[in-house]
């Protein structure tokens, strides 16, 4: 007896429904929302007050790096929810559904990336309103697009790391030995120095190109930042898009493998 299955499932509704779920869950957990609002505002206050008279490296220098940090941490924390999904059992019903696996992965990643973007955009808007940002509207839009691409890359990276983990504790170890150094070595915190090994090291970090791209777009009137030494914009885009493609494909591939966590 062969019963015909209906036509293949279109991917878009799957992506949208899973992304929407991430957002709904986010907004229903009050502490997450409060944290998401407080973090950018806190950073912005620290920047505009704390760094105002900080010699040569003013708020302008740290602004793009802070956006990268907000994206990194929010995106990655959003993906930790995959561990929760697995533990709470939601994931198992997704895994036996006929929807294409890449669409499920993309839905999860888009949801996490949107949450990260909301936070980073809030920080960007506060910066635009109160700091002497000299970027044109077009530059701001491009910065926003670049931020979106970075957040997809970072959420995908978080997905890859979280997929095989059975507890959120394990994630914190990865966070401190891998993700935090990745941010430190992205040019977010230390300005480029010709001939420095630290600067050389940053060139091997794909996040560096995202931060550099943001630096190109987010210019300040009182800018003390030298963008001349940074990788050019085309390179920044190319590397960031490549980074995104690689991490997404990795996430998709890894989601095709089984983990012992499925057997809980």
């Amino acid at each position: 007896m062969t019963i015909a299955a209906s036509q293949p499932i279109s991917a878009l509704p799957v992506v949208l429904t899973l992304a929407q779920r991430e957002l709904v869950r986010f907004f229903r957990q009050r502490n997450r929302v409060i944290g998401a609002l407080v973090q950018p505002i806190m950073f912005w206050v620290l920047f505009s007050v704390g760094l105002r008279d900080n010699g040569q490296l003013g708020p302008a220098f740290f602004f793009p790096g802070t956006i990268a940090m907000i994206l990194l941490f929010t995106a990655i924390f959003a993906t930790i929810s995959i561990i929760e999904d697995r533990r709470e059992g939601f994931l198992q019903s997704v895994l036996v559904a006929p929807a294409p696996r890449w669409a499920m992965v993309l839905g999860k990643i888009v949801g996490g990336a949107v949450i990260a973007m909301l936070q980073a955009l809030l920080f960007l808007v506060l910066g635009c309103l109160t700091m002497s940002l000299a970027s044109s509207a077009a530059e701001l839009v491009l910065a926003g697009i670049l931020m979106a691409v970075i957040s997809v890359a970072l959420t995908s990276l978080g997905f890859v790391i979280a997929w095989r983990m059975e507890s959120t504790q394990g994630f914190h170890a990865i966070m401190s030995v891998f993700l935090f150094p990745m941010w430190l070595l992205s040019g977010a915190l230390f300005p480029d120095e010709a001939g420095s090994w630290l600067t050389l090291l940053t060139r091997f970090n794909p996040l560096t190109y995202g931060v550099a791209g943001l630096r190109h777009y987010l210019r300040f009137e009182d800018s003390t930042v030298l963008v001349d030494a940074l990788p050019g914009l085309p390179v920044c885009w190319l590397v960031t898009l490549g980074f995104t493609a690689v991490t997404f494909v990795l996430a998709w591939r890894i989601a095709g493998t089984r983990t012992t966590g499925d057997l809980l």
Binding site: M1, T2, S6, I9, R25, F90, M104, L263
Partner: protein
């Protein structure tokens, strides 16, 4: 029973490392029947469930579900399967309807189809007035019903349930079975696992699993008849003492199950008079019955059911 099988399992084995969880199983499930895998924890039935539900990949052997090969046409199989896991699979932060909506999208339901099916499932399972409640606010029995609604949302032809009565009170369990019977009349094949002997009794056919293999496969009545004899249960204040004394006096095997003495013998009615005459002061009540599935399990595997973990 229609001759065409809904599931064909041929020579399927599954290992976790060195441990063999399922050992060269072969069997068929007919279309439209309620089929139960009965076995204690560790008997391999949950591994089998995971294989059939496509959660874990097939290592060796062949499985055909509703005419589709499990390896080559996994998307077709998934479309036709409804799966209800033992562990909850609902998103507790979402409402009942939202859970169903996400499920519908994962199975490719259009918006109107999703609306109709959600309403139909909520009505069928008595959840209509709870559809806007978050799952975390529902009782265990209610959640179980939402799981069923979720599993049946896309009109699967085959419903797989892993230990569906876990955590249900007797009333909710009766409701569950009533619903499953109703589904069967609609032509849905139902396959479930359970470690509860009294639950397996309600199936059309039972596969008794032990150490990854089939110990028996038949209808409940045929299985019970295969043991032969009657089952005599004696209520008493000190079951252990009485069981020993019966064993010594009549040279037979008397066991203690759930605080009562039990023995299986042909011509049970004759045994009752003998027992009551021999121990008039110790026996409070005697029940004569047909052998239970537990008796079948013991007879087929040589192991006690509740000590059957290996």
């Amino acid at each position: 029973m229609p001759a065409e099988p809904a599931i064909t399992v041929a020579d399927v084995s599954h290992r976790y490392g060195d441990r063999v969880a399922v050992d060269r199983l072969s069997f068929e499930v007919s279309a439209g029947e309620i089929f139960v895998f009965l076995g204690p924890n560790g008997s391999g039935k949950t591994t089998l469930f995971r294989l059939l539900s496509t959660l874990i990949p097939l290592q060796s052997g062949d499985v055909t579900i509703l005419g589709h090969d499990l390896r080559r046409a996994v998307a077709d199989v998934r479309m036709l399967l409804g799966v209800v896991f033992q562990a909850p699979s609902l998103d507790k932060k979402l409402t009942v309807s939202e859970n169903l909506a996400h499920q519908g999208r994962l199975y490719g339901l259009s918006t109107p189809a999703l609306r109709n099916r959600s309403k139909a499932m909520l009505d069928a399972l008595g959840l209509a007035d709870r559809s806007a409640d978050r799952v975390e606010e529902l009782s265990g029995g209610m959640r179980r019903r939402v799981e069923l609604a979720k599993g049946m949302l896309h009109r699967p032809k085959l419903l797989l349930l892993d230990e569906p009565s876990t955590g249900l009170d007797p009333g909710a369990r009766a409701d569950l079975w009533q619903y499953l019977q109703q589904l069967r009349t609609e032509g849905v094949t139902i396959v479930l696992t359970t470690h509860l002997l009294e639950e397996a009794d309600r199936a059309d056919r039972i596969a008794i699993m032990h150490q990854g293999q089939l110990a028996a496969l038949d209808t409940p009545s045929a299985l019970q008849a295969s043991v032969g004899g009657d089952s005599i249960t004696i209520r008493t204040d000190s079951p252990d003492v009485l069981a020993t004394r019966i064993g010594e006096q009549f040279d037979c095997v008397a066991t203690v199950v759930d605080g009562a003495v039990r023995l299986e013998q042909p011509n049970g009615h004759q045994w009752i008079s003998r027992l009551v005459e021999a121990f008039p002061d110790d026996i409070q009540a005697v029940t004569l019955g047909k052998p239970t599935l537990e008796d079948v399990f013991v007879a087929r595997t040589g192991h006690r059911y509740w000590n059957g973990e290996s």
